[in-house]
């Protein structure tokens, strides 16, 4: 169903006056409206681990060491402030 068709179907429902209970009572409409979201979620479910090249893995380790180093620096700074 195209976005225009879906929008047309939705517009016939008088959206502004609909309550959550009324929407819940129409699961077929909910399924139709959230089709894109459901398809994306399915696609994500199929995702597996990304192969990491040596360079990328090295970069990630470098960034991790950067954080650890900086935490040590902040600790030194806090000690300096206290003194």
């Amino acid at each position: 169903m195209s976005i225009e068709q879906l929008a047309a179907q939705v517009s016939n429902v008088v959206v502004d006056r609909m309550t959550l209970t009324e929407v819940k009572a129409r699961p077929e409409l909910v399924a139709e409206v959230l089709l894109e979201q459901r398809e994306a979620a399915k696609r994500m479910e199929r995702l597996t681990l990304r192969p990491l090249s040596r360079g990328l893995r090295g970069l990630m380790w470098l960034l991790r060491l950067y954080v650890l180093f900086m935490i040590a620096v902040v600790t030194i700074n806090v000690i300096q402030i206290f003194h």
Binding site: V15, L20, V30, L34, E36, M44, I76
Partner: protein, 437 residues
């Protein structure tokens, strides 16, 4: 994992969006779709951030830092726009994508960074609430309790949409710093001159200046923002077709937040002009110190602004922690769910809030030290977060044709390099105290 109620609530929101699109009601459409971007940007104008801006204005006046703040928000836009695309394309949270694509080992590192910085930041939000309320003579315990009640009330709606509108209304109060700036009667020629020239420059970039520089960066770009906005985009149900409005939302948020931040610098600049030493000031003291220049109304607005900044950020930051916890543990995580259907989500949310609030009222808690250091830590944990963000944004299996372009990659890498270099300069000033740029 997704309940009927959650789906129905999201579908109702989506139907309103589709209806507005069909009727070509562009104003209504924008109203329906703005939220996550404005919330994340104004949420990041939190108590320690406003305090950093106030310290900047009082120690350096109107000059280099005014356009620098604008620049940091431009960088924040670059990072946050990626989360809009990631959220809309994948309909998954940031933590979920990190775990799926990088595995538990790297995912755990990212989560430790996030929860650590989030909790420290939450502490400072309550410091802001206490300081803002302190201006009105409200004791710490009542300030924290009152803040917790307001935040809890926001979560009682059991609808993302209602929660978002309430917090959005509260967040817009951040703009209160603009009238405070106007009340300080700034020299507009100097403001315009500094905006376009980055001048006058601070006299030497020593340790104190670098810490403020880093705190101002940390006041605009932090890891929680990535997790929150992507989670909110997913909870709201924004789709690929809404990317344009998502970008407008983020740009609008960045613009408003930059205005409020720059206004705070302008509002406290009289302290610099009158050579008042504000280096040890807390939030309430700033409000009292600027009273001779902005009047009682201005000082009151300033204190209220700090209080509001703490409230909004406490709400958004605790939500980002709860979204992330739900994504990682594969538990229901949506503001569209009632408490009984998402107990771990709400428990995480409320537990971190109560714990942070409780710690802040402990006697002898080093309030000012935590406030100064928290923005610095936030910046220092940002490079790996930017790294994950860029790798995900270039992941064709997730993004398809919405992957980063070369220009966006250059901008994104530029932001990462800039933040990393700022951190290295900070490290140099700490390890070699005599180091100056």
């Amino acid at each position: 994992m997704v309940s009927d109620r959650e789906n129905a609530a999201r579908a109702l929101d989506r139907m309103r969006v589709l209806d507005a699109k069909r009727k070509r009601q562009w104003g209504k459409l924008l109203w329906l779709l703005i939220g996550p971007g404005v919330l994340v940007m104004l949420g990041e104008n939190d108590a320690p951030s406003m305090l950093s801006y106030a310290a900047t204005g009082s120690q350096f006046g109107i000059g280099f830092f005014l356009p620098f703040i604008f620049l940091t928000f431009a960088m924040a836009y670059v990072a946050q726009e990626i989360t809009v695309r990631l959220g809309a394309v994948s309909q998954a949270g940031h933590a979920e994508l990190i775990y799926r694509r990088f595995g538990r080992f790297w995912g755990n590192f990212a989560m430790i960074d996030l929860f650590f910085t989030n909790f420290l930041t939450l502490l400072t939000e309550f410091v802001g609430i206490v300081a803002g309320a302190g201006f009105f003579g409200i004791p710490d315990y009542y300030a924290v309790s009152g803040g917790l009640i307001v935040i809890f009330l926001a979560f009682m709606f059991r609808r993302y949409w209602s929660w978002e509108r309430m917090v959005l209304g509260l967040a817009l109060f951040n703009l209160v710093f603009i009238p405070v700036a106007l009340l300080s009667h700034p020299n507009w020629n100097s403001v315009v001159y500094s905006l376009f020239t980055f001048r006058p420059l601070p006299s030497g970039f020593g340790s104190q200046t670098i810490v403020l520089l880093l705190a101002d960066i940390g006041a605009t770009i932090t890891p929680w923002m990535l997790f929150f906005q992507q989670g909110a985009i997913t909870d709201k149900g924004l789709s690929i077709r809404d990317l344009k409005q998502g970008r407008i939302d983020t740009a609008l948020g960045a613009g408003l937040a930059a205005l409020a931040a720059m206004a705070t610098v302008v509002a406290t600049a009289p302290l610099f002009v009158h050579h008042m030493d504000a280096s040890q000031f807390g939030a309430a003291q700033f409000a009292q110190a600027i009273e001779p220049y902005v009047g009682h109304v201005g000082a009151t607005l300033f204190a209220l602004g700090i209080l509001e900044a703490g409230l909004v950020a406490a709400t958004t930051i605790s939500t980002s922690s709860a979204y992330t916890f739900g994504e990682v543990r594969r538990k229901a995580h949506s503001l569209n769910l009632p408490f009984r259907e998402a107990k771990p989500f709400y428990f995480t949310l409320f537990a971190v809030l109560v714990l942070a609030g409780g710690i802040v009222v402990l006697p002898g808690f080093p309030l000012e030290l935590v406030v100064i250091i928290v923005n610095v830590i936030a910046v220092l944990t940002m490079p790996p977060a930017i790294g994950f963000l860029l790798i995900l944004a270039n992941d064709k299996e997730i993004m398809n044709r919405h992957a980063n372009t070369l220009t966006l990659n250059i901008l994104g890498i530029g932001v990462g390099v800039f933040i990393s270099l700022a951190g290295i300069i900070y490290a140099l000033t700490v390890i070699f105290p005599s180091f100056h740029l």
